[in-house]
């Protein structure tokens, strides 16, 4: 193999690039094939001939399929950096990385952190869209970095990556999630049932289906931090808390629906929702967030319909 490659290089040097392809292809085919096949290749090329079909009876000719090498392409990522010990204000920093079409924004951040600037700080855990650690604002929209493919963005322009808005910025892409989790805790996100049955608590398929959509929440905060009301007033419970309240309010086994409705029937509760649908657009799990909020509003007006 190495000999033929050397020969190929030599011929490329002396005869030019246009003729260089043929000898190497023939040489590669000849390495794996039998002597008879190699003769057929050198004699007839790729067109099938009677000699070829006769030879196939003993050993099938293997045509090397042209496998396209994955091509990497340059992408400019502009990250909003902030180091509280150095910077007074966050600053935008550009990084050029070579990306493949199958890769995600998270891979670009890894490449920056591992190869260019180890001081870049961001959260990620499972890297497969389940843990909800790496929600960030990518080109102005809240996305999970591990679910946003680079090829889905216009790579002729830079991709802007910054921390989610509305929560206190700690460093680079990391924000303080505690206010978000406080809202979540406040709506009592746990099953409250008094009876103690011998076996499991029964539920029909339809009863389970009623709140299925809101069970998908991974608490990534993409919805809450895309909400304009939350940006301007951090006191608002936010879509994620309401979604998780919805999950228990409409659960037929739970007995504390009214408690949660009273909590959300607050000045900072569901009535602050302006139905801008930012949360539904941002949700990486495809939860119909605005619809869930509307159902909670409806339950406050005309009671919980399971």
């Amino acid at each position: 193999m190495s000999q033929s490659e050397q020969k190929n290089e030599h011929s490329l040097g002396s005869e030019g690039a246009s003729e260089a392809g043929d000898p190497s292809a023939q040489a590669e085919a000849a390495v794996d094939a039998t002597t008879a096949d190699a003769q057929a290749v050198s004699a007839g090329g790729t067109t099938p001939s009677p000699a070829d079909s006769a030879a196939e009876g003993t050993a099938r000719q293997v045509e090397p399929e042209p496998v396209e090498e994955p091509q990497s392409f340059p992408v400019t990522i502009i990250v909003r950096r902030y180091d509280p010990e150095v910077d007074e204000e966050p600053r935008w920093v550009d990084y050029d990385v070579q990306m493949f079409a199958t890769e995600r924004i998270l891979d670009a951040l890894h490449r920056i952190k591992w190869e260019q600037d180890p001081s870049l700080a961001f959260r990620r855990s499972c890297a497969h869209g389940v843990c909800g650690s790496d929600a960030m604002r990518i080109n102005g929209k809240n996305r999970l970095a591990c679910k946003a493919l680079v090829k889905d963005f216009d790579t002729s322009k830079p991709i802007y990556v910054e921390a989610i808005k509305g929560l206190p910025l700690e460093k680079d892409l990391i924000v303080d999630m505690e206010p978000f989790f406080d809202s979540f805790r406040e709506i009592q996100p746990f099953l409250q049932a008094t009876g103690k049955p011998d076996k499991e608590r029964h539920q029909t398929i339809a009863q389970r289906e009623r709140f299925d959509d809101t069970t998908k929440c991974i608490l990534c905060a993409a919805c809450t931090t895309s909400c304009p009301v939350f940006w301007t007033d951090g006191q608002y419970f936010g879509p994620a808390a309401i979604v998780n309240a919805h999950r228990f309010i409409f659960d037929s086994r739970d007995e504390a629906s009214q408690v949660r409705l009273d909590i959300l029937n607050d000045q900072e509760g569901v009535w602050r929702c302006r139905t801008t649908f930012n949360c539904t657009d941002a949700c990486p799990r495809g939860i119909q967030v605005t619809k869930a909020i509307a159902e909670v509003k409806q339950a406050m007006i005309s009671g919980v319909k399971l």
Binding site: E186, T232, D266, G269
Partner: protein, 152 residues
């Protein structure tokens, strides 16, 4: 194995625990929807009667036309209802915007009071004028007044 926590400890009381007075957010939300629907009927009814139904359209709207309308109880109540709903709907919307976007407590209080006073003044003046309006002022040119003024 099941463990039941008898008294779940969540040290996060509802946000507005220190709030005074009734919570009117739900009532406000319902009012905005209901008044919106009614206003669509009232405003388009108003426009259709004044501009389409009345011969002459916009050119026929003068003192006599308005005076004649405000002499009838039907149109008095129509206009008063439209006034109240439109002013309350609009000022509640303004209140919402102020609550969403004004953060400094002093400016917020001033803005909310300004909206409230403006709404109150407009509603009181409008209601007063609609019910105390005199369509036939003394000594005016009869040709400019509603037709029934001649019979007085």
């Amino acid at each position: 194995m099941t463990a039941t926590i008898e008294n779940p400890n969540y040290a996060y009381p509802a946000r507005s625990a220190g709030r005074r007075g009734p919570n009117l957010e739900k009532a406000g939300w319902i009012f905005m929807r209901a008044s919106g629907v009614v206003l669509v009927v009232l405003i388009f009814g108003h426009l259709a009667f004044n501009l389409l139904w009345t011969p002459g359209g916009i050119h026929a709207v003068d003192f006599g036309f308005v005076g004649g309308k405000l002499a009838q109880p039907f149109w008095q109540w129509w206009d008063v209802l439209m006034l109240w709903l439109a002013i309350l709907h609009g000022s509640n919307g303004m209140r919402t915007i102020v609550n969403d976007y004004v953060h400094k407590p002093t400016i917020r209080t001033v803005a909310l009071w300004a909206i409230g006073i403006a709404a109150a003044v407009l509603i009181i003046l409008g209601t007063l004028i609609t019910f105390t309006f005199n369509p036939c002022p003394e000594g005016a040119d009869l040709s400019l007044l509603p037709s029934f003024c001649a019979e007085l």
